[in-house]
């Protein structure tokens, strides 16, 4: 059951990572890309349409993570503590803190992507999306790192 949950959590995280990365790059890339270029085609995808999906995926991923955290605390963390992986546990704690802060940002993120874009709101949404992307990337990488830490007994 835990492994199935972990796999679903991973799959949702991959979808979230893809969506937020695309949206962030589209928000920061120059508007005038050459029409036929990769950047130009990338930019033509309406980034705002990702916002609802990102909010839903973030919530699902956070919920699954919150459930898995219970198993992690009982089954995984004591082993890491016993073997002195303190830095890894610190990185994991940061992941939890950042995810919570990201949860709090979801309403503002959603509002910014829902409104028609002015110069100010474009800057704001680009910045906030970058913060969200950082949180998602950090969580993804640290989650994988912790998951793989004992995989080969290293």
């Amino acid at each position: 059951m835990t492994i199935a949950l972990l796999m679903v959590h991973g799959l949702v995280a991959v979808a979230l990572l893809g969506a937020i990365t695309h949206q962030t790059l589209a928000a920061w890339a120059p508007v005038r890309g050459r029409p036929g270029s990769f950047l130009g085609r990338f930019r033509t995808v309406p980034s705002a349409s990702f916002a609802n999906a990102i909010v839903v995926l973030y919530l699902i991923s956070a919920l699954l993570g919150a459930i898995l955290y219970l198993y992690f605390r009982i089954d995984v963390r004591p082993t890491l503590e016993r073997e002195g992986h303190w830095q890894s546990l610190g990185l994991f704690d940061l992941k939890e803190h950042f995810i919570s802060i990201g949860l709090g940002l979801l309403p503002a993120y959603w509002v910014l992507w829902r409104r028609p874009c002015t110069d100010e709101s474009h800057r704001m949404r680009a910045l906030l999306t970058a913060v969200m992307a950082f949180i998602v990337w950090w969580s993804f990488l640290i989650g994988h790192y912790l998951n793989n830490l004992k995989g080969f007994g290293l």
Binding site: A66, Y69, L70, Y71, R73, I74, R77, P78, G84, W86, Q87, L89, G90, D93, L94, E96, H97, F98, S100, I101, L103, G104, L105, P107, A108, Y109, W110, V111, R115, E120, M124, L127, L128, V131
Partner: protein, 121 residues
């Protein structure tokens, strides 16, 4: 339009307040609930087993506070967000919406600072 402005105020206030309150909850150890996953028990408030029983209980029944810190921040931010929704529209956002980015980034830096002891072990 009025309700949209009110929700915008709520969303921005919630985001900033959540980040600030989360750091305060983390620093002061104000968890709304304490979870004991091995016992399947959730207690209201912050509980440290070493305060009421032998410190060794912490190994048998580890406590989790992350849910409580998140709940503390969410509850406080919800109250503050709802209060700002009640303000008339002429009360514009005095801090500027930029704080919705700056506040959480500062909060994340504060979290890094509070987590530093892990890296000194």
């Amino acid at each position: 339009m009025t309700s949209e402005l009110a929700f915008r105020r709520f969303a921005f206030t919630f985001g900033i307040a959540f980040a600030v309150l989360y750091v305060i909850a983390l620093a002061r150890d104000w968890a709304l609930v304490t979870v004991y996953p091995s016992l399947g028990v959730v207690l209201l408030g912050t509980h440290h087993s070493k305060d009421v029983a032998d410190p060794a209980i912490g190994f048998v029944a580890p406590a989790m506070y992350w849910y409580g810190w998140t709940a503390t921040a969410a509850t406080g931010a919800l109250v503050l967000g709802l209060l700002t929704m009640l303000l008339p529209d002429r009360f514009t956002w005095r801090f500027g919406p930029g704080w919705v980015c700056v506040g959480p980034v500062l909060a994340m830096l504060a979290c890094i600072y509070l987590t530093l002891p892990w890296f000194r072990l």
